[in-house]
């Protein structure tokens, strides 16, 4: 155990490099494939994907229906799929119902539509508190909801990854789907913010 203890205190960069070397030598990983995966998540997979899904749902009632019925399939229609996207359930915010997403045990998050989670989503404080006092936590994050708005907190501990379909802001009826995409934020799709009109 002494070895393990001191070993775990080595800088994580060194342990990571050591592990990568050993796995490469054993043919368990291919650094080229791995580089491709990292580049993909650093540059391509992000909330823009989810914003496209939301804007389409706002402008295409038939797509919205499919999205709420089978999130994974409707999201795949736009070409977004992959790890952590196998079972995405979409919930719709309305003037009277507000949905917010958390992973209480770790960091489950719908990667194909939102990319990797931000720090606050992984933070122990958010994970513990948003379940117990969602209204307070949302208010601290800048979202004040009226007392008569019902808040539902969705915990992504099972296989399910949740995506919030935010309310389309008033006064955006004249905007095109493309213009709407740029309004949709990651925070709105997690449910800790609303989409603001431009």
């Amino acid at each position: 155990m002494t070895t393990t203890g001191s070993g775990e205190r080595l800088p994580p960069a060194l342990r990571t490099e050591a592990l990568e070397q050993l796995l490469t030598e054993r043919g368990l990983i291919d650094p080229k494939v791995m580089n491709g995966i990292i580049t993909e998540y650093e540059t391509n997979v992000g909330p823009l994907n989810g914003a496209k899904v939301v804007a389409k749902a706002w402008t295409d009632p038939e797509y919205r229906r499919r999205l709420l019925q089978d999130g994974t399939a409707a999201i795949k229609e736009l070409g977004f799929s992959g790890p952590q996207g196998e079972h995405i359930v979409v919930v719709e915010n309305t003037p009277t119902t507000h949905h917010v997403v958390v992973c209480t045990l770790c960091s489950c998050y719908p990667w194909p539509v939102l990319g990797l989670p931000p720090s606050w989503y992984k933070d122990p404080a958010y994970r513990a508190r948003v379940v117990k006092e969602p209204r307070t936590v949302l208010s601290e994050m800048g979202l004040d909801l009226d007392d008569d708005v019902q808040i539902t907190v969705h915990d992504s501990t099972s296989e399910v990854r949740w995506l919030v379909l935010p309310e389309r802001p008033a006064g955006t009826e004249h905007l095109t789907e493309e213009e709407l995409v740029s309004l949709v934020t990651r925070d709105a799709m997690v449910g800790v913010a609303k989409v603001a009109a431009p």
Binding site: G7, T16, E17, A18, T39, Y41, E42, T43, V45, P83
Partner: protein
């Protein structure tokens, strides 16, 4: 990150309130390893997730936590847990290799920046 980053353009990394996806290159390597191994079928995601949950729970149960939440350190530990469980590597092997890497003389650290190859790959893709 040592490579110049495209901040605003189409190749800009996804940011959240100015926050990069990975704060240090090794975090991206630890992330990439887990996803590569999962995609190659080395383990299922629920297996990895259970190990991650256990590491997070253990850290949260530690009484005096004065360090910032070390998410990717726990991620890396969980990955090691799973791989040790599969007998793909042993903890002592990883420790020994890491200690050997720590002995490299300064200047002989071409491979020290684990993002090195990766950034070249990105540079090429942009040209």
């Amino acid at each position: 990150m040592t490579a110049p980053l495209d901040i605003e353009g189409p190749a800009a990394p996804p940011r959240s309130n100015g926050e990069l996806v990975f704060s240090e290159p090794w975090e991206s390597r630890a992330f990439g390893m887990a996803v590569s191994l999962y995609e190659a079928g080395a383990f299922t995601w629920p297996q990895f997730q259970a190990a991650l949950i256990a590491r997070i729970a253990a850290w949260e149960a530690t009484p005096a936590r004065d360090e910032p939440y070390p998410y990717y350190r726990l991620w890396l530990a969980a990955l090691e847990d799973v791989l040790v469980g599969l007998c793909a590597v042993s903890t002592d092997e990883v420790t020994a290799r890491a200690q050997a890497l720590a002995q490299r003389p300064p200047g002989h650290d071409h491979r020290d920046d684990p993002g090195h190859e990766h950034h070249h790959a990105r540079d090429r893709s942009q040209s």
